[in-house]
Symmetry: C2
Subunit: 655 residues, 2 copies
């Protein structure tokens, strides 16, 4: 059967100044290239480097003397030696202002967050003293503000209370908390040290948005206990239990004085936030609003003795700096495994948050952040923290944003904050005695509310519906079930998406854009024309065991569909199947088996299989498995248009 | 800075018969297409269909009357109604011969395999009676031979004895075995019914080769117990424990009569195998060799009363057909969870084996096999089996190959085999009394030895070193640790490979093949030339949360490398970065963030970002996230060569 092959399809419309000639007679100019042979060790080394050291951290060590190398190594581990040398007074001024601002923000937050973790208030302050100091020497982000954060506090609190009762077995609970913190640090440092930092990237952006939003709602709901002055409150965190608690206590559990304090200061804080958002110049208004509210509310309670009216107050915060907790960490017994598990989860979540924050601000100020190095710094700081009565600390988004806007220059702002916290611990903790819990609740609500990033959710909805499902799954999982379940949903959906991507890769039918040698997806370009007698399929993925059967079957289905179409349209028969392989970055033995099956199947139907533009790795593998000999290496072409030209020439020869 | 852009790079050498003209002034002919807008429901439906129903199983129902639809549905569930209608005597003849051959092979194997599962011999025979009958009505493979297989028997045996002692608590052990079989069937049927069959494709070919080879070695080692006549043998399956057992019993544990029988018949069986392999006509020699050996050895022992000399014999096989075991399945209590776990593992491994076999023979005879339908058939057969005293059955590779070579036509050969097993159970089991265990050991060794597919391993080594590591990991895991650990290693390495693929996608630098408009990987095509002032990078993967940071950093590194190169070579500056997006099948919000970060970063360095040929889905998402507006939609081109043409035109305008 002769089929009419339109010659112009094989031509490029943008001609050169060369004389016209008959293109169908011209020899093919380039052969598909083989890559230069690599030996085994080289190949392994390359893969290894690309996986773990793609950022080439040793680049600057090249061609340096021994002492310089040592200095660079020291600077690598302790960036303080790098930025410290150029430190000056003007930078210090920026850091002092930023440090004082975030300190005023962190003190009330710390006290509140330690309640989320079911710990006494001083532990929150402890965690804002030691970890920031360590981070300042080792961390490479200039903007991140270190300390306890809401989501991790909630997470560690709810994971710990699944194991130990925080009221009845207070001592055991605290020991487990330090154990978990220790293992969180070990996890973080190990991931960084082993350069496995990319593992945290398996939590998709969408899942994080959902999880954070859900956690924020949950945390805000927990604060109703303090803002409404409810005495007996559920230990569960899901919205149904919490609302039930709130509702059942409406008649005799609420305290109107507490409500007045809580609501009015919440309004004040939200208003301050609004002002800060309206005009960037007033960023300091929401930053100092919390400490102002604490001072005002404490004074108010102290003067009116409202605590006698049932307004709950902080009462006692232990004075003095962090005691050692080395002896409290479990290194044997059944609690080790539990602490390890909780630590790994909290460590990963903490990392995800800190690295995301670090990257955001690094991008804004245009400096590079080595994720793995950052993890070592965060891990070391948490290990040290676990030995000095701290619980898991990480980068706080709200405080980092304030730090940034207040004009921080280096991690010295963390040192300033830490110093203020130290003074607080040494001198003024007794002054917090009359601070009402309600004001802490209000501060936390106003802090976490901005974690509900509805704008991001809307964008996700617009861009990718599957991502939106992941986002909502995580959100509702946290809100209606628990933090752990939300996290589990987030991770599962993220993984499912990856797995789906590798099992069901896209294959598209290509057509010729009239007047060019360009072949494009016929769905995207409706003007693209099918070449008679030829089916051209592009496979948009590596062909691996996970998708080889699908790819083979899908290609056959494209062929069948096209055959059905030509049957109804006319008598022309499909003679050639061209697989455009450009996007096929790799193939494994299963993939080659699939191609071989396809080849055999096509042979029976008298259809010739042609490959266009296989990449170097693929060519090498096809060659070593003898598949190229099988189909004939002249059936492999550099481009689709050359392959089509070959087909049309061939079908003219054999009518 | 003017850079010298060689005009011919933007031209295609294969010209048309049109007159020459200046290509750099010509307008661009095509714009990058947007796909036709789909509404939400349509989009979901498409993704859903492509994921679960890519083979379009409902295709044949289209445009049919009600009764035809019912008939097609019936034929779909029970393919027997399809092939049964064309069944004839000549097909029956083929099936009878094949059925008798595999029956003679399966009876001795069944007795041996049930020992691997720590069950009495009759259970192996039971499992070759009911399941094949059910499969014959529901299965769509024409060649597969159903029954107990070595690897699954070993697996279920070692998993079960971790939970219950097979000697001390025989009854409990058996009940747990039926429970596991029940759940294996449920798992298989559910996977098929929910069309989740693709889940079994996450075990890579390489991992399966290694796992099977390791299991074969382990099984062969276990048979030393019978072949050497050792009385006290370890329960562990790793090679070190087994060799230790063998060695420590060398002086008074071995029985020379047993060894003589075992070794001589093993030699006979291997010789028969060799003949069958040499000449395909003699395929029946290895097929009937086992039953011949059994008969000869049994006669020999009976006549010489060698059992009095310490030759261990089968002794007693219970006569009669399968008793019901419905009441023995645990539906409550702690054993349910254990049975479920074991069942899921055995069910998945069984499926993997059966589907691989089915596909192999379907490809040989050129018919399509619906994997999901096959799973429903296998699942149903195991559920029925669990109620009739069978343990997990699946497709056996060795028997299926014999079935195929003996000329089976339809699943009727399974029915014939099943009938022979039935007769055996009813009539001749007492004759097996004097069958020496040694001969069963020899039969199993000769059966499993071909599972050690060293040729496949060599091919894997040649094609993909990473795959080879997976293969060897699984192999040594099974041989030196245990079946479960080997399986775990196989699954983990398979997953790790997938995850690696999605976190570290390939990016390559493109160059122009002189005299064409083709741009190719400069590594693969050393003749490809860099375009001055332009860096062209191709990203060979979807850009997702799991790789967005890597992709961004890697592109910047390509740019940096090129800048370093041009700095040493000459004064020309990089002005354009072209990202060839053809292989980028999808992008999510994280990916768009990465592109935006990249864009901002490049803007600061005064480098223009240009995209070439984004696909339809990517275009849609870039559009809905406003990224196209951001970079300007005239910076998106249909091909790299058009983008390069644009760059050269632009840099000529702005010297």
């Amino acid at each position: 059967m002769v089929h009419q092959h339109d010659e112009s399809t094989a031509n490029e419309v943008r001609t050169t100044s060369q004389p016209p000639y008959d293109p169908s007679q011209e020899p093919f100019m380039y052969k598909v290239g083989y890559p230069p042979q690599k030996n085994l060790a080289r190949e392994f080394a390359d893969t290894f480097r690309e996986t773990f050291f793609h950022d080439n951290p040793l680049r600057q060590y090249k061609d340096q003397s021994g002492s310089t190398k040592f200095m660079i190594g020291l600077q690598f581990l302790f960036p303080i030696f790098e930025w410290g040398r150029n430190y000056n007074l003007s930078k210090f001024k920026g850091d002092v202002i930023a440090g004082l601002t975030i300190a005023s923000l962190c003190i009330p937050q710390d006290i509140g967050y330690s309640k989320l973790a079911n710990l006494d208030p001083q532990y929150g302050l402890y965690s804002s003293f030691v970890p920031p100091l360590i981070y300042a020497t080792m961390g490479s982000s200039k903007d991140i503000a270190i300390g306890p954060v809401a989501v991790v506090s909630l997470l560690i609190g709810s994971l710990l209370q699944n194991e130990v009762d925080p009221v009845k077995n207070k001592e055991e609970y605290m020991r487990l908390a330090f154990t978990a913190t220790f293992f969180a640090g070990i996890t973080q440092a190990a991931l960084g040290f082993l350069r496995l930092g990319f593992l945290i990237e398996f939590l998709s952006h969408a899942a994080i948005v959902g999880f954070m939003g859900g956690a924020a709602i949950t945390i805000a709901l927990q604060q109703l206990k303090y803002v409404l002055g409810i005495k007996s409150f559920t230990k569960k965190t899901d919205i149904i239990s919490v609302m039930h608690s709130v509702w059942s206590s409406v008649h005799h559990g609420w305290n109107w004085q507490t409500i007045v304090i809580g609501i009015s200061f919440l309004a004040f804080l939200l208003f301050a936030k609004y002002i800060g958002k309206k005009n960037k110049k007033f960023f300091w208004v929401p930053a100092i609003a919390p400490i102002t509210s604490v001072i005002l509310a404490t004074l108010f309670v102290y003067l009116t003795r409202a605590d006698k009216q049932g307004v709950q107050i902080v009462n006692h915060i232990k004075k003095g700096i962090n005691p050692s907790s080395v002896h409290k960490i479990y290194f044997s017994g059944p609690f080790v495994a539990k602490g390890f598990k909780i630590g790994v989860v909290c460590g990963m979540v903490g990392l995800t948050e800190a690295v995301a924050i670090g990257r955001t601000f690094a991008a804004l100020k245009d400096y590079q952040l080595d994720g793995n190095k950052e993890m070592v710094a965060l891990g070391t700081m948490n290990i040290a923290g676990s030995m000095t009565s701290c619980y898991v600390a990480t980068g706080s988004f709200s405080r980092s944003a304030v730090n940034f806007m207040a004009g921080c220059q280096t991690p010295v702002s963390n040192v300033i904050m830490s110093t203020v916290v130290l003074l607080t611990l040494l001198v003024i903790t007794p002054l917090f005695k009359y601070t009402p819990n309600a004001i802490l609740g209000s501060i936390i609500i106003s802090a976490v509310i901005s974690l509900v990033d509805y704008e991001a959710a809307i964008l996700i909805w617009k861009v990718d519906k599957m991502d939106f499902i992941a986002c909502m799954g995580a959100f509702f999982g946290v809100v209606f079930a628990s933090v752990e379940i939300g996290l589990l949903i987030a991770v599962s959906i993220s993984f499912a998406k990856i797995l789906l991507q590798v099992t069901r890769p896209r294959t598209v039918l290509l057509g010729n854009l009239p007047g060019t040698t360009i072949y494009r997806n016929t769905d995207q370009y409706p003007e693209a024309r099918h070449v008679p007698g030829v089916v051209i399929v592009r496979v948009d993925s590596a062909i691996y065991f996970s998708n080889s059967n699908y790819v083979r079957e899908r290609i056959l289905r494209w062929l069948r569909d096209e055959e059905d179409k030509t049957n109804t349209e006319g008598p022309s028969k499909i003679n050639f199947l061209i697989i455009e392989m450009s996007p096929v970055i790799d193939i494994d033995t299963s993939g080659i088996h699939a191609l071989e099956d396809l080849y055999k199947n096509l042979q029976k139907r008298d259809i010739q299989l042609i490959l266009a533009n296989p990449g170097s790795i693929v060519m090498e593998k096809l060659h070593s498995s003898k598949f190229t000999e099988h189909i004939g290496s002249n059936n492999i072409f550099l481009t689709v248009s050359e392959a089509v030209r070959f087909c049309s020439r061939k079908s003219m020869q054999e009518p």
